[in-house]
Symmetry: C2
Subunit: 434 residues, 2 copies
């Protein structure tokens, strides 16, 4: 006799509804793969009357999702309500305490409460699984937690937000500015009405926090991430970067350094010949670097009803098949404290773009300011000359590797020059081996 695994789905938006549909559509296949039939026994959503493309007849309906945690006819909760706190948090916590497994797509929840939830899961011999929280259906959590378990990871890098990647790709391809492309993306449904979670880098940072914990065996530490979004990226900088052989991507990066773990989300320049620079549009990609495996890249669709449902169901199959992996790869009590590397200690090359009044002596004062702060220059381009003497021209400096503290001091000096017609733009350059 096979055990039936009973599932309660909290939230019936795109992800919740997609999960219910997938479970029904591929029922026989899934039973073959998990060894146990998986059936939905309970659901919860705000509006009971809405047509979601499937029948809720015979399912227990909860007005308040939190009550599902006590349902004896539910073995696993699928949480797709969203939000780092409130109902989602309370439901997941009480479900784990009640000895139920939880599967969630909620990156904010895991990024902010992951360690607490992992401890509760361990104490109750259940799991909280979250493959869907990063890169949609692309199995990056599994790859990092299980596939690369033999490695000491040195760096994790990711294009983690499809909205930002779509906007940057479109800006580059069409030479358009951020605000313009964002408005279009909102119209097309690729960006939210309030886009700040995406374009300010918060969503990518939630995902990065999770990857960092898995990669380095440390407690999730969202607050340690230096976060910067893409609002200040201009069509001009994208074009200048291209001319210099770079592409601008919003990357989440976590790196082991002698100072600790450096975590940051920001627009960075990457060599146009690297694989990650070629991941365009709404696609996501995660690049992992292990001491044995070398570089590994995974890519695919990072969002959407069907890719996300794919990830949720993969977690459900693991649970139904009895495959247990500690929430962050090692038992919660074995996770190390995260030692933060201060971002001022970051070592790397930089892209510095000025918009200056075109007159003698400007270059000399900038290069002198860089030199005084120990920043050495690798290359410089000035695009054209101003139409009239004293007009405005963009000038770009690419530096050799330096530390961010020195670079910021040089920037402060340079920003004060009267030759600037607008504030300078500074971006990090990130290197990849392939």
């Amino acid at each position: 006799m096979q055990n039936v695994v009973k599932i309660g789905v909290a939230g019936l938006g795109t992800v919740g509804a997609g999960t219910v549909k997938l479970l029904s559509e591929h029922r026989d296949n899934l039973t073959d793969r998990s060894g146990s039939p998986m059936i939905v026994t309970a659901v919860s959503a705000r509006d009971r009357t809405r047509d979601r493309g499937f029948s809720t007849d015979g399912l227990t309906w909860y007005e308040d999702a939190r009550d599902m945690a006590q349902d004896a006819n539910v073995d696993v909760i699928v949480e797709t309500i969203g939000g780092s706190d409130g109902i989602a948090y309370e439901l997941c916590k009480t479900a784990l305490e009640a000895g139920k497994h939880v599967v969630t797509a909620n990156k904010a929840l895991i990024a902010l409460h992951g360690v607490e939830l992992a401890r509760i899961a361990d104490a109750n011999n259940v799991t909280i699984a979250y493959e869907a929280a990063v890169a949609g259906g692309v199995p990056v959590i599994k790859a990092l937690r299980e596939g690369l378990s033999g490695n000491v990871v040195s760096r994790v890098t990711g294009i983690l937000n499809g909205t930002c990647n779509y906007i940057l790709t479109t800006m580059r391809e069409q030479g358009r500015d951020f605000a313009d492309v964002l408005a279009e993306a909102q119209k097309l449904g690729y960006a939210e009405a309030d886009p700040s979670f995406d374009v300010d880098g918060i969503d990518a940072a939630h995902k990065l926090a999770i990857l960092t914990s898995l990669a380095f065996g440390v407690e999730v530490d969202f607050d340690a991430i230096a976060v910067e979004g893409i609002r200040s990226v201009s069509a001009l900088d994208i074009q200048m970067a291209e001319e210099l052989g770079y592409r601008i991507k919003l990357l989440g990066i976590a790196k082991q350094t002698p100072e600790g773990i450096e975590q940051r989300v920001s627009p960075v320049l990457v060599d146009r010949n690297t694989q990650i620079s070629k991941v365009e549009g709404v696609f996501n990609a995660v690049a992992l670097e292990g001491d044995y495996v070398g570089p590994v890249i995974l890519q695919g669709r990072g969002a959407g009803e069907r890719p996300t449902a794919s990830a949720v169901v993969a977690d459900l199959v693991d649970i139904a098949a009895g495959r247990k992996t500690p929430v962050f790869g090692v038992a919660a009590e074995r996770l190390k404290k995260n030692v933060r590397a201060p971002i001022e200690k970051h070592i790397g090359a930089y892209y510095l773009r000025l918009m200056v009044w075109d007159r003698p002596g400007v270059m000399a004062e900038v290069t002198a300011a860089l030199a005084r702060n120990g920043v050495s220059m690798a290359s410089m381009i000035q695009q054209g000359r101003a139409e009239t003497e004293g007009g405005v021209v963009p000038v770009v400096f690419i530096t050799h590797e330096t530390n961010e503290g020195s670079m910021l001091e040089a920037l402060a000096t340079i920003s004060a020059f009267e030759s600037n017609s607008q504030p300078p733009v500074l971006m990090r350059i990130e290197n990849f081996a392939s």
Copy 2:
């Protein structure tokens, strides 16, 4: 008290030795990840005196690896002897029968005896794991078997042989011919003294056979694969393909068709804007397409001591942690028979390159032959004109989608034309969405 997992390593070549080193180097990390210390208790290799960079003191040494299957002090056998039959096969079979798990990097063994071994594993409640058999340390087996378990897969495609990809990349970048680049690759150690397993596509076909079984839930069926290697790829064809916007890659492809599953390994043309076309040099990549997840690509180093050891150890951690997955994703008895789609029924576009005497009427007779067989032409290029009237020029035809049977009939007719100065070259074109 933790259970200690005792490992016997059969074969101490690069993979075996790399595994022993990794297990020792990352011992504490691995114990955290698996929950159980993993120790090597026994080894077997031909030459006991060779220095492999680690001490074999205290380990049981077997002259004949097969005896290891009966060692009560071994829980898991790591088989790195190689070869589809002989000692490797006997060792794996008897170890599984003796209730020991097996981890192997042996693609030939799994491709040819996978179903039998999976049945024995199931019957003895153990597993035979083979992440290292495909794409080195890149966790493609895990991604397909567990990460995409919620999907019906429509196609699996892969750059599965690093030697071939290196040769094709070098041929293109340097405009050199196959024999020349092969000789250099042999000198550099990127190709074997007898390169036929690699360059004739057999190694890629072994890997494809495994991926096909996992993707479609069917019995491994190596003999069903239409295999063609890269010996006949010329620098000229690579160059002509580039001019038309394509890159030539040796791909393994398994596809669900109305006729059954089509499996083939051959040089194919892929659009130069697709991600898979940009995987160069010794890198491997596998592209998976699921009905829910959409396209997913994984890439990384497909061979070498350290990447392969990474995969072997990932399998060992899964076993030590008690995570069980059926050998091919579903129980061996639930695997379907493979229904072979005959390659003549393949539907796709083609690249046809002729080398013809440059004289009036040649184009007309070729296009007429294509048309008579129902093959319609999408484009045609003739590169330059012959230096002298009646000289030889390459001419390329790109067809619309047609079936391979018709294309081969057209080819037979065209090959008989006296206008050919050498036999025509025909290659399939493979489409990717991104």
